[in-house]
C-alpha cells in the first residue's frame, strides 16, 4: 500500500520504527501532489526544497537517536491564510500577491517545533470568505470525491489535500465552519478548538472574535495529535487561554475503545430540520443509533436563539472583516495600483488598489460590515448581533445542564457542483448553518464522516463545552471507530480514483 494512504499516526509509527525515512515519506507526498494536484488544485504553492531539507534533518536526528516529538517527520500542508516566514502568503487574494512574511504564525512555528516538513500552502476563499474556494483569486479547488464539485470552504484546499492523500495533515482556520464544512463534504475530519485554545497570531484575520486555527486530518486521532501540537497559550495572542490545553490525544484513544456508557448526548432541535437534505439527515439519524449502541443516551435539546445565529453571524463577521481588511491598501505591502495616474494621491491609490485587489465576496462583506458599524446603525446591527450572541451562549449553557456533548449534521447538504451557488451569496452562507453557533459561543466543534449520500460524503458534528475539547474528541473517536467497523474500512479509503475521474472528464 502506498505510504500516502496511511494515517498520520501510522506514518509516525513507521518513522519511529525506522522502517521508512521522513525523506521517503515526504517525497511520496510530493510525488502525489505532482500526480494529482493539477486536477485537485489544493495547493497554491508547494515548497519541496524546504520540506525535504526538514525531512532529512529529522532523519539525521532520528538516526542519532535524539528525542523527537510524536509527529516528527510527518509532512503537513498549511492553509495560505497562515503566515510562513520566507514563503509567500496570499490569503487567496490578489491584493497580497507577492507578500513574503517576515515572521511565522505561532501555529506554523509550533508545527516546525513538532519537526513536521511543510509541503506547501493550500487554497482558500479570498481572506477565508466563502464556503467553496470558488472565491479564491487563484481558481477553485476540486473535491477529490467528484472533481466537478466544491471541496467546501474556506479551507477547501486543506481538506482536499488530506482527502486526496497529498498530505496526511493540514492546518486550517474556522470562522463559521471553514475547517468543519470542508471536512464534511470531503469525507475527512476537521476540528475547531475552543476559542483561545490555539493561537491566532500570524493568521490573516477574517473575524477576530470568531476565528480559530485547527487541524484537518483523515482520522480523529490524527486530528488530536496535530491539535495537541499546536494548542496552548501564546503571549503574542492576548485572547489565547493561559492554561494547559486539555489531554486531547488521551481522550481520542479512550474514545476509540468504543464505550460511551453514561455519556449524555444532545441533539439540537434547531439544527436538523428545515434546510437539511434528507440523505444527510438519514446518515445523522443512523449515527445517533450507533451512539446509542455505544452506551450514550440521546436527548433532544431546544436552543431557540439558534434561529438568529445566522443573522447575528453575518453582521459580526462582516463588521470585523471590514475592519480587518482595511490595512490592505497598497501603502506597506502587496498590490499597489494607480499611483502613476495623473493627479494621483495616497487616497486615490488606496481606492484603486482595493478596487482592483479585492474580489466580489470581499467587497460584499466590506460594504455590509462598513454599513453595520456606521453611526446610527451600530446599535441596530452590531449591537443587536452581540446580544444574540449572548443569548446563543446562554442556550448552550442551558444545554450543558442536561448533556455532556451535542451532535448535529455538520452541513445541511453534500458537495454541490462548482458554480452552482457562486452568484447566490445567501445560499452559499447557508452551508455554515450548523457550524456557526459554536463560533459565536467560542465552544469547540468537529466534523467527522457520517457516511455517503448518493456517493458523496456527509458529516456529523460533535460540540462540547468551552475548554472541554477532550469530550468532543472522545465522542468523535468512539463514533468513528464504530462507523468504520460498520463500513469495514474508513470512508476515505473508498474515495474514487482521481486520475480515473479526470480521465473521464478528459474523455468528455
Amino acid at each position: 500500500m502506498s505510504l500516502t494512504r496511511l494515517t498520520a499516526v501510522e506514518q509516525a509509527d513507521l518513522l519511529a520504527r525506522k522502517q521508512v525515512s521522513s525523506e521517503e515519506l515526504t517525497q511520496a507526498h510530493l510525488d502525489r501532489i505532482d500526480e494529482v494536484d493539477s486536477h485537485v488544485h489544493a495547493f497554491l504553492a508547494v515548497s519541496p526544497d524546504q520540506a525535504l531539507a526538514e525531512a532529512r534533518s529529522v532523519d539525521h536526528d532520528r538516526a542519532t537517536n535524539q528525542d523527537l516529538p510524536p509527529l516528527a517527520g510527518v509532512p503537513i500542508a498549511v492553509k495560505d491564510l497562515l503566515a510562513t516566514k520566507g514563503i509567500p502568503t496570499t490569503a487567496g487574494s490578489k491584493i497580497l500577491e507577492g507578500w513574503i512574511p517576515v515572521f511565522d504564525a505561532t501555529v506554523v512555528r509550533k508545527v516546525k517545533q513538532a519537526r513536521m516538513p511543510i509541503l506547501g500552502k493550500t487554497n482558500l476563499d479570498e481572506f477565508a470568505m466563502g464556503s467553496s474556494t470558488e472565491f479564491s483569486a487563484f481558481g477553485p479547488t476540486h473535491n477529490p470525491w467528484d472533481l466537478t464539485r466544491i471541496p467546501g470552504g474556506s479551507g477547501g484546499g486543506s481538506a482536499a489535500a488530506v482527502a486526496a492523500f497529498e498530505a496526511p495533515l493540514a492546518l486550517g482556520s474556522d470562522t463559521g465552519g471553514s475547517i468543519r464544512q470542508p471536512a464534511a463534504v470531503t469525507g475527512t475530519v476537521g476540528a475547531k478548538p475552543t476559542y483561545g485554545g490555539v493561537s491566532r497570531q500570524g493568521g490573516v484575520a477574517l473575524a477576530s472574535s470568531l476565528d480559530q486555527v485547527g487541524p484537518a486530518a483523515r482520522t480523529v486521532l490524527d486530528a488530536a495529535y496535530l491539535h495537541e501540537a499546536i494548542a496552548g497559550w501564546d503571549p503574542k495572542d492576548s485572547t489565547s487561554l493561559n492554561e494547559p490545553p486539555p489531554a486531547i490525544v488521551h481522550a481520542a484513544k479512550l474514545g476509540a475503545q468504543g464505550d460511551l456508557t453514561g455519556m449524555r448526548i444532545g441533539v439540537v432541535t434547531q439544527l436538523k430540520g428545515e434546510g437539511y437534505e434528507p440523505g444527510v439527515l438519514q446518515r445523522f439519524e443512523e449515527a445517533l443509533e450507533t451512539l446509542r449502541g455505544l452506551g450514550a443516551s440521546i436527548e433532544e435539546v431546544d436552543c431557540p436563539s439558534f434561529d438568529y445565529s445566522f443573522a447575528a453571524y453575518c453582521l459580526i463577521m462582516a463588521s470585523e472583516a471590514s475592519s480587518n481588511v482595511a490595512r490592505f491598501e497598497g501603502i506597506r505591502h502587496g498590490l499597489r495600483v494607480g499611483e502613476d495616474e495623473p493627479g494621483a494621491t495616497a487616497m486615490t491609490m488606496m481606492s484603486a488598489t482595493r478596487a482592483a485587489g479585492f474580489g466580489p465576496e470581499v467587497k460584499r462583506r466590506v460594504i455590509l460590515g462598513t454599513y453595520a458599524l456606521s453611526a446610527g446603525y451600530y446599535d441596530a446591527y452590531y449591537g443587536s448581533a452581540q446580544k444574540v450572541r449572548t443569548l446563543i451562549q446562554r442556550d448552550f449553557a442551558a444545554a450543558w445542564e442536561q448533556t455532556d456533548a451535542l451532535v448535529t449534521p455538520a452541513t445541511p447538504f453534500t458537495a454541490f457542483p462548482l458554480g452552482e451557488k457562486v452568484e447566490n451569496p445567501l445560499a452559499m452562507y447557508l452551508c455554515d448553518l450548523a457550524t456557526i453557533p459554536s463560533n459565536l459561543a467560542g465552544i469547540p466543534g468537529m466534523s467527522l464522516p457520517s457516511g455517503l449520500v448518493d456517493g458523496l460524503p456527509a458529516g456529523i458534528q460533535v460540540l462540547a463545552p468551552v475548554r472541554r475539547d477532550e469530550v468532543m474528541y472522545r465522542v468523535a473517536a468512539a463514533l468513528e471507530a464504530a462507523l468504520t467497523a460498520q463500513w469495514g474500512s474508513p470512508l476515505w479509503a473508498n474515495a474514487p480514483d482521481i486520475l480515473r475521474q479526470s480521465g473521464k472528464e478528459d474523455a468528455r
Binding site: T89, L96, S238, R327, H333
Partner: protein, 504 residues
C-alpha cells in the same frame, strides 16, 4: 471678505468664551503600547518597528502593562473613577500613517472617567477644570511631506512615513467645557496645560516635552453671546479646534487669537466654521485645516484582538498609596518649610525654579540662599540668554556649593558671582573656579591692617575728618582698601577695622 479680528477686550465685552482642551501625553514607558518595540526618541526612521506596529497581516497587539499603570496613576491623581472593565476599541479611517487603517483606542468606559484639576493662576486664584475622561491609545506614524509649501500635504511631491512613532503609547486627557473664565480665558487655558504638565512630571509618566511633541494640546474654543443673567443657559457657539499648539506660551496666544478671530466673524454676521485650525507662531494666528461640519464616521467597535482591562482593585489601591506628593500640596509644604510667601513660591514656579531650588536645598543650601541664587543672578543670566533656568550649565549641587562658600565667609557675594560666571562658562564647579581664579576673602587681619595703614598714610586728610566725627567719610578709605585687596576682603570687616584703628 473675511471679517478682521476684533480687539480682545472688546471681544470679551461682547462675547462669553468657552473652551475645552484635549491633551495627548506620550507615556515614557520603555516599549510601545501594543508591541515590544523600543520608544527611544530620535532613532533613525523605521528602525523601531515590528509586524504589529507596521500593521502586517496576522500580527496581533499585546497590551503594555506599564502603560496601563501610568494611565491609572494619572487617573488617581486627577480624582477620576477607574472603571472595573475598560475595553479598547477600533477607530477607523484611511491614512498612510495609520498602519492598520484603524487606531486602537478607547471610547466606552475609558481607563479614567471624570476627575478634576485645580489650576492656580499667576495671581493665586484657583480655577477648577473638570475632566471628562482620559483614554489610552496608540499614536500614528509620522508623515513628512517633501516638496510643495512648508511641509503641508497639499502640493507635496511625496511623503515619507516613519513608523517608529506608530504604536507609541499615548494617554489623551479631555476636559469638560470650561465656562465663565471671561477675560482670563487664555490664561486659564495656559495654566491648565501647565498644571497638567506639572502633574505628569510629578508622576513621572512622561517627559512632557511640548517642543518634541511628547505632550500636545488641542484647544477647542467657541464664543457665545454675552447676556446679563443665566449666561450658562446660552447654548455654545460653533467651535474651532486648534491643533498641536506646542508651547505653553502658544496655548495662551492661540486662545486669544481665536477669541479675536471668532468675535470678528460673529460681529460681522459671518459664521464660525466648525473645523480644525493650525496655530502659526510667526504670524500669531491660526489658519483653517480640516472641516468638521460633517463629523467623520469612525465606526468604533470593541477591539476583538485585546481583552478589556480589568484592573484588580487591590492593585489600584497599591498604586494610590504609591502616588507621589502632588504638585499643589508640595508647593504648600515647601512654602511652609522654606518660610516663603505664596507669592514667592508662585514666582519660583512661574520661573521654573521650584525643582531647582528644592534640589539645591536637598544638596545642603538654605532655602533662602537657594532661592536667592536661582531667582536672582541665575534668572538674570537665563533671561539675558533667552533660555530656561534648567538649560543653564549649572547644577543644583554647584549652587549649593556656592552658597556654602558664601556662608562660610570664603566668598563674598561679589566674588560668588564671579565664581558663578566661571561655572556657567564651563570652568568647573564654583569651588574649582574660585581656586583657579584665586578668588578668596582676605580674612587675615594682619594683611588687612597693613593695607589699612597704607591707606591711612596715603589719605591723612580723610583720616583726620573721620577722627573729627565725620564717620561717613570712612567709605573712601574702605574703597581704597578694597581696591588694594582686589575686592577679596569683606567690606564690613574692613570698615570695622578702620574704625577701631581710628578710635571711633
Amino acid at each position: 471678505m473675511t471679517a478682521l479680528p476684533m480687539d480682545f477686550d472688546l471681544a470679551i465685552e461682547r462675547f462669553d468664551p468657552v473652551f475645552g482642551i484635549e491633551t495627548h501625553v506620550e507615556l515614557n514607558t520603555r516599549t510601545k503600547l501594543l508591541c515590544p518595540c523600543p520608544t527611544t526618541f530620535g532613532a533613525p526612521p523605521n528602525t523601531q518597528t515590528c509586524p504589529a506596529c507596521l500593521g502586517l497581516p496576522g500580527a496581533m497587539p499585546v497590551l503594555n502593562a506599564a502603560a496601563v499603570e501610568s494611565a491609572i496613576r494619572l487617573g488617581l491623581a486627577l480624582g477620576s473613577r477607574i472603571p472595573s472593565v475598560s475595553p479598547f476599541a477600533r477607530k477607523h479611517y484611511f491614512y498612510p500613517d495609520l498602519a492598520k487603517d484603524y487606531q486602537i483606542t478607547q471610547n466606552v468606559n475609558p481607563i479614567c472617567i471624570g476627575g478634576h484639576l485645580d489650576v492656580e493662576l499667576d495671581d493665586g486664584e484657583v480655577v477648577r477644570v473638570e475632566i471628562d475622561h482620559a483614554h489610552m491609545e496608540e499614536d500614528a506614524a509620522k508623515n513628512t511631506h517633501i516638496g510643495g509649501t512648508a511641509g503641508r500635504i497639499h502640493g507635496a511631491d511625496y511623503t515619507l512615513v516613519d513608523y517608529n512613532r506608530s504604536g507609541m503609547p499615548l494617554i489623551e486627557i479631555v476636559t469638560c467645557p470650561v465656562e465663565g473664565t471671561g477675560a482670563r480665558v487664555a490664561e486659564v487655558a495656559r495654566a491648565y496645560v501647565a498644571a497638567l504638565r506639572e502633574l505628569v512630571l510629578a508622576l513621572d509618566i512622561s517627559d512632557a516635552r511640548m517642543e518634541q511633541g511628547s505632550m500636545r494640546a488641542d484647544v477647542n474654543l467657541s464664543l457665545r453671546e454675552k447676556v446679563a443673567v443665566d449666561q450658562d443657559k446660552v447654548p455654545y457657539g460653533k467651535r474651532s479646534e486648534t491643533k498641536n499648539v506646542n508651547s505653553l506660551r502658544a496655548i495662551e496666544r492661540a486662545a486669544r487669537s481665536e477669541v479675536c478671530r471668532q468675535a470678528g466673524l460673529l460681529a460681522a454676521g459671518e459664521p464660525v466654521v466648525q473645523e480644525t485650525r493650525h496655530w502659526h507662531e510667526d504670524i500669531d494666528a491660526t489658519t483653517p485645516g480640516r472641516s468638521k461640519e460633517h463629523a467623520e464616521d469612525y465606526r468604533y467597535f470593541p477591539e476583538p484582538d485585546l481583552v478589556p482591562i480589568v484592573p484588580d482593585p487591590a492593585w489600584i489601591e497599591e498604586l494610590r498609596r504609591g502616588l507621589p506628593e502632588l504638585p499643589a500640596a508640595r508647593r504648600r509644604r515647601l512654602a511652609r518649610e522654606w518660610g516663603l510667601s505664596d507669592r514667592e513660591i508662585r514666582d519660583a514656579v512661574n520661573a521654573g525654579a521650584l525643582e531647582l531650588i528644592d534640589a539645591t536645598v536637598k544638596a545642603g543650601a538654605t532655602a533662602a540662599a537657594a532661592r536667592k541664587w536661582w531667582m536672582g543672578e541665575l534668572a538674570r543670566v537665563a533671561n539675558e540668554r533667552g533660555v530656561g533656568l534648567e538649560e543653564l550649565a549649572i547644577t543644583a549641587n554647584d549652587v549649593a556649593e556656592l552658597a556654602a562658600l558664601v556662608a562660610d565667609g570664603q566668598l563674598t557675594d561679589k566674588l560668588a558671582r564671579q565664581a558663578l560666571a566661571g561655572t556657567l562658562a564651563g570652568e568647573g564647579s564654583p569651588a574649582a573656579v574660585a581656586a583657579a581664579r584665586g578668588l578668596a576673602v582676605v580674612s587675615d587681619d594682619s594683611a588687612l591692617l597693613a593695607a589699612i595703614d597704607e591707606a591711612l598714610v596715603a589719605m591723612p586728610d580723610v583720616a583726620e575728618k573721620v577722627r573729627g566725627g565725620k564717620v561717613q567719610a570712612i567709605g573712601a578709605i574702605v574703597g581704597a582698601v578694597m581696591k588694594a585687596t582686589r575686592g577679596q576682603a569683606d567690606a564690613a570687616k574692613v570698615r570695622e577695622l578702620i574704625a577701631s584703628r581710628l578710635g571711633v
